[in-house]
């Protein structure tokens, strides 16, 4: 330690480098702060005009200039939750298979392919949603669900194909690589001795996974899921293309909805009235805060998981 400090004093280059990096690194949090400040300033007219009502009304009428974020917040949250409900179990079990059961070669190839899903541009997911997923949902899946589970409000209404369900499924596929690769890291970091201990107690393979791996990694898994949720909340293009874009709050998964990011992408370019622009930016502010909170939660969980590990 002492030696290093001495060297730093002698070599000016190190010092400059230190300050350079420090400046760059502190620039990024500053950027975050500036974005928040910009959104707040730009949305000030509507914050002033509508106040808290903006958060709790679902009316969105650019002609009459009534604006409320509720329907979009509903669309964002529900579509993301559907994505988690479908994507999280799939990802966690995939990760479990890859770390615990698969041979190393299979794990490598399959892991690579799963991560490749993250490399597909979201507009391609959107096109796939429109041309492949939506017709399948409209012709086969939704009529079937309507017939068998139609007594639930979730599965009522005409099958359009595009809508909340389609958006949730597309999002699920998009968040699978995130959750899978983080879960894999979590499972890998579970000490081998835990598994051996469980085996020594006579646990079966499934019990080893359940007791030693899943339980130990549970906070880490939760963090992985929340990271996936953060990704789903902010996704714009693919969702816009398949969700049907209707500012409605409906119990049915078949009905069209709209998300916060998609309404901004949809309406910003042609918004001419100052109030309309400010309202769109306030949606941006709400979305920013929401994803910020979700991502912070994820950090805390992952951090707690790794803290537990280093304390071992």
């Amino acid at each position: 330690m002492k030696i290093i400090r001495k060297r730093r004093d002698i070599h000016h280059g190190d010092r400059y480098f230190y300050f350079l990096l420090k400046g760059l690194a502190s620039g990024l949090p500053l950027l975050l702060f500036l974005i928040a400040a910009f959104l707040l300033k730009a949305s000030w007219p509507t914050i002033n005009e509508f106040g808290a009502a903006f958060l709790f009304t679902q009316d969105w009428d650019p002609v009459g200039e009534h604006f409320g974020v509720l329907a979009f917040a509903f669309g964002t949250i529900v579509s993301s939750l559907i994505a988690i409900a479908i994507g999280a179990p799939l990802s966690i079990f995939t990760a479990l298979f890859l770390t615990e059961l698969a041979s190393s070669r299979v794990a490598k190839v399959a892991g690579f392919l799963v991560e490749m899903l993250a490399a597909i541009p979201s507009v391609v997911y959107g096109l796939w949603g429109i041309f492949v997923l939506a017709p399948i949902l409209r012709i086969h899946v939704e009529p079937f669900l309507g017939k068998t589970l139609g007594f639930l409000p979730l599965f009522q209404g005409p099958p359009y194909g595009v809508g909340m369900l389609a958006a949730g499924i597309v999002l699920a596929i998009m968040i699978i690589p995130t959750i899978t690769s983080v879960s894999r890291e979590v499972f890998r970091s579970v000490p081998q001795s835990y598994r051996e201990a469980a085996m020594a107690l006579g646990a079966t393979r499934w019990e080893v996974m359940r007791i030693a791996v899943l339980k130990t990694g549970s906070t880490g898994i939760l963090g992985a899921v929340i990271l996936g949720l953060g990704r789903a909340l902010g996704e714009t293009m693919a969702v816009t293309m398949v969700i049907g874009n209707r500012a409605d709050i409906s119990a049915s998964l078949f009905s069209p909805a709209q998300t916060m990011s998609s309404v901004i992408a949809n309406e910003y370019a042609e918004a001419t009235s100052a109030t309309h622009v400010a309202a769109l930016l306030e949606i941006g502010l709400v979305l920013f805060l929401l994803t910020f909170i979700v991502n912070s939660l994820a950090r805390v969980f992952v951090w707690r998981a790794s803290l537990g590990r280093s304390a071992r």
């Binding site: 009428d61 017709p135 874009n245 949809n266 910003y268 042609e270 622009v277």
Partner: protein, 347 residues
């Protein structure tokens, strides 16, 4: 090792310098560079225009960003661009915010067509204004509704629900369509109104013209509105609509130009007018201008180039419109627009 790297770097630097040099030369040939931004709808034509115009006049380089009419008006108001472009004319309120007065220069016309996907029917659907309004208001919900079957004798409509498809993104196309509905239906005007984005009573939203054609193409029972060229390109049928004179007209270059000519008599000097539902038996009722926004006083070589370009665009440039499915300005109107362009003062 070090040597090799140095060599590589020097090669790279020389290449970059060479590229830079060529780019600079290419740029210095164009003495005047104009920037504009705005409407996406006329973008294919505008980029063709700027390209052709530069061929004739190598001095003029025009850079256009299709960021949407709203963005075009905003940037024009802030004075960051030399000219703006918008599908809808600026409102009085917006004009009041300008630092210096501006002209609206109509360049071409676009038609909004009703495209549909009804199993068992093909082309030739006929719609009246009130049926159309009631469909989009959600009051007419089945294809075999008596009002539709009466209007289209000989067509056997299925017992399918009507699915309305509209634009989810703000758009000049929506502006024209809702303007038309507001004119023909008091109920629409009261409940929904006119705008580039409105609160739709029913239906699904698709992003862009492609999004709406996609929805219509894939969903049996769907009806949606798109620009003419998109319906033609995706081989979807489109309806003929009853015009103000009571005739059913199909959208075409001719019927759209006729609409502009029909609206000519009542057209104000600044061209800020909607030409939906105009008089004239050949007029297709749902169409609109797209405009360039230009200051009334422009300066220097830039200003001269801009005026010369506008003069060319409304005369010879009009010939390029039709191959790209935009309706050219009718001759009588083009003369009027030329007179306005002459009023632009170059300092």
């Amino acid at each position: 090792m070090m040597n090799m790297m140095m060599k590589k770097i020097s090669v790279l630097v020389t290449t970059l310098l060479a590229i830079q040099a060529t780019v600079t030369i290419a740029h210095s040939a164009a003495a005047t560079r104009l920037t504009g931004a705005g409407a996406t709808f006329p973008y294919p034509l505008y980029s063709k225009w700027f390209f052709e115009y530069q061929k004739r006049n190598p001095e003029a380089e025009i850079n256009y960003q299709s960021i949407g009419s709203g963005g075009g008006i905003r940037q024009f108001t802030e004075g960051t661009i030399d000219f703006g472009a918008s599908d809808a004319p600026m409102t009085d309120e917006q004009l009041a915010k300008l630092a210096q007065p501006a002209f609206h220069i109509p360049t071409v016309l676009g038609a909004v067509v009703l495209t549909y996907h009804v199993p068992g029917t093909s082309t030739g659907l006929k719609l009246t204004p009130d049926v159309l309004a009631d469909i989009f208001l959600g009051k007419l919900t089945k294809w075999n509704d008596p009002r539709l079957t009466k209007l289209n004798p000989g067509v056997s409509f299925p017992d399918t629900p009507i699915l309305v498809a509209h634009r989810s993104d703000g758009s000049g196309t929506t502006g024209i369509f809702t303007d038309y509905l507001s004119k023909v239906s008091p109920e629409w005007k009261k409940k929904v109104g006119q705008g580039t984005a409105v609160k739709w009573p029913v239906g699904l939203g698709g992003k862009g013209n492609e999004g709406v054609t996609g929805l219509v193409k894939q969903t049996p029972g769907a009806i949606g509105y798109v620009e003419l060229i998109y319906a033609e390109n995706s081989k979807l049928p489109y309806a003929s609509v009853q015009n103000a004179a009571g005739h059913f007209t199909l959208p075409s270059m001719k019927s759209v130009s006729a609409a502009a000519a029909g609206a000519l008599k009542t057209m104000p000097g600044d061209f800020r007018v909607s030409i939906t539902n105009p008089p004239g038996k050949d007029s297709y009722p749902i169409s609109g201008f797209t405009y360039l926004l230009v200051h009334q006083t422009v300066s220097g070589a830039k200003g001269r180039t801009l005026v010369e370009f506008l003069e060319w665009a409304v005369s010879d440039g009009q010939k390029l419109a039709e191959p790209l499915s935009y309706a050219p300005l009718p001759h009588s109107l083009a003369k009027k627009v030329e007179a306005t362009i002459k009023k632009i003062q170059v300092k």
